[in-house]
Amino acid sequence: MGVAVAIQQLVKCFGQLRALDGVSLEIAEGEFFGLLGPNGAGKTTLISCLAGLARPDAGMLKVMGYDVLADYREARRCLGVVPQELVFDPFFSVRETLRIQSGYFGIRNNDDWIDEILANLDLTSKAHINMRRLSGGMKRRVLVAQALVHKPPVIVLDEPTAGVDVELRQGLWQFVQRLNGEGHTVILTTHYLEEAEALCGRIAMLKQGRIVALDSTSNLLARYSGHTLNLRLANDRCLPDDLLARSSNTQGYRVFRLTGFDEIEPLLAEIRQAGGIIEDLRLTQTDLEDVFVSVMQEADGREGVAAR
């Protein structure tokens, strides 16, 4: 398999802010790749650099072997981007929008493929409707359609499911998975970590412009494998420092990562000794969300050390 996207030592600054601080990344053809990170991590900036919407300050980016600056025509022909913002051209109908977008990529008479995209995105009945009159979810799907008019080998979706309801989300993922099955490389950013866990074969986690984790989804889950014990305590404060340090606090629960079930009994005993009163107790399997939280906390820790 060839390399679909290659990024080396990418730096992008906005004034004093280093939005991307030396990112290197390689994505193979045919991958379903997840790009995760908190708001402001630099995901959209990375995509903008890849798409030629932003000029990098340093580093190199290639799409299907084409440099995004030197061979911009080929690179852009290989790339379909669904932007994060819900943008549209209010002058045109859905079909006009897609025909025009095809033309920008040098394609005439694209109606067969346009019809297929419309059908797959459940937009056929809206083809003649002006963009202004579509709901947010429909506009989002037209954005997806626009990114696909030229059958790009690499498809980038920047939070494509924000504001799209569950049923349509399913349809969208079916379509994107089909495209991935047909050989298209897919790069996805999303806030829904269950989505990323279900879809992505490999994941990069980004924080403050740096990659803090990069591995296959299964390896990431395995690295933090096991279970977590989630406790809601009436008197959280009474716990001794070492218990606080071993746990994290999410949505009112103390979360303890377990490597085995035999840890549960001594842990509960410690809490009882400290006078903790348990209001609720849950045992859950690690999911990508736990991994995400752990990775981000570890990154914080590393930065703390570096700062000292």
Binding site: A54, R55, R76, L79, P83, V87, F91, Y104, R108
Partner: protein
């Protein structure tokens, strides 16, 4: 080529879909100018040997061409920047030269359409002659090109609609109004005559008018040179801006 042609088509379609505002409205504005000014002045005034209404009409036509060419590129760019839909033309493999040409040619077309409209509705009010039609077309095209290009600079530079309005009110409007649309500069005090000679729009109007009557304040070839040089300068600035990615690919 398809990319360029599609972008041109899209830019034309954009103003054509709202042609009531983008073509009909400016034609009506020019007609009102003509009715008011010629009613007041036509019986009293002759300029360069032609009656005032006949003198005024080519000026109004050219002013409409210039203002609408400017309005087309600048409003298209600012709109798509503000709404974010500019990404649709930035993502495809379209070069900055194609981008520039598509926008400027569309602006020239809108200018010509409005200009033709103004000519058709105002031509009834005076007996016009067309001494040198090639000059008419040449000045209309290059003048539209200068203003279309200037509109691109304004549209790229401005982040908000009011910044664009400032550009329009403090630069474009004075330049077009103080260019001899409504008068011959020979009727101005000497100082203002000299100032007018630094205004490229003066040469556009003067050369354009020459095409109708065969008389002008300045030799038409001189005007053509000034207008052509203006176009080259403004176009080069625009192309340099686009090449650098200024505000479009930052």
């Amino acid at each position: 080529m398809t990319g360029f042609l599609t972008l041109l088509y899209k830019e034309v379609l954009r103003f054509w879909k709202v042609s009531f505002q983008t073509v009909a409205a400016p034609v009506l504005t020019a007609l009102l100018y003509l009715l008011i000014f010629s009613h007041v002045l036509d019986s009293h005034l002759q300029v360069n040997g032609v009656r005032y209404a006949a003198f005024l009409i080519p000026g109004l036509v050219m002013m409409s061409i210039l203002q609408n060419a400017f309005a087309n590129t600048s409003s298209s760019l600012i709109q798509s920047k503000v709404t974010g839909s500019i990404v649709f033309v930035l993502l495809p493999p379209i070069s900055y030269v194609e981008f520039f040409l598509a926008y400027v040619v569309a602006a020239m077309l809108r200018g010509l359409m409005v200009g033709l409209g103004v000519l058709l509705v105002t031509g009834w009010f005076a007996s016009l002659s067309f001494v040198a039609p090639v000059w008419i077309l040449l000045f209309a095209l290059i003048g539209g090109g200068v203003m279309g290009s200037l509109g691109m600079i304004a549209g790229i530079w401005a982040d908000k609609f009011d910044q664009l309005a400032g550009f329009q009110n403090f630069l474009i409007l004075p330049l077009t109004m103080l260019s001899g649309v409504f008068y011959s500069i020979h009727s101005l005090p000497l100082f203002w005559q000299q100032v007018s000679h630094f205004n490229p729009v003066f040469y556009m109007i003067d050369g354009f008018r020459y095409g109708f009557f065969g008389v002008s304040d300045v030799a038409p070839i001189m005007s053509l040179v000034v207008v052509a040089v203006s176009f080259i300068v403004v176009a080069l600035i625009t192309l340099a801006l686009m090449r650098s990615g200024y505000k479009l690919r930052n």
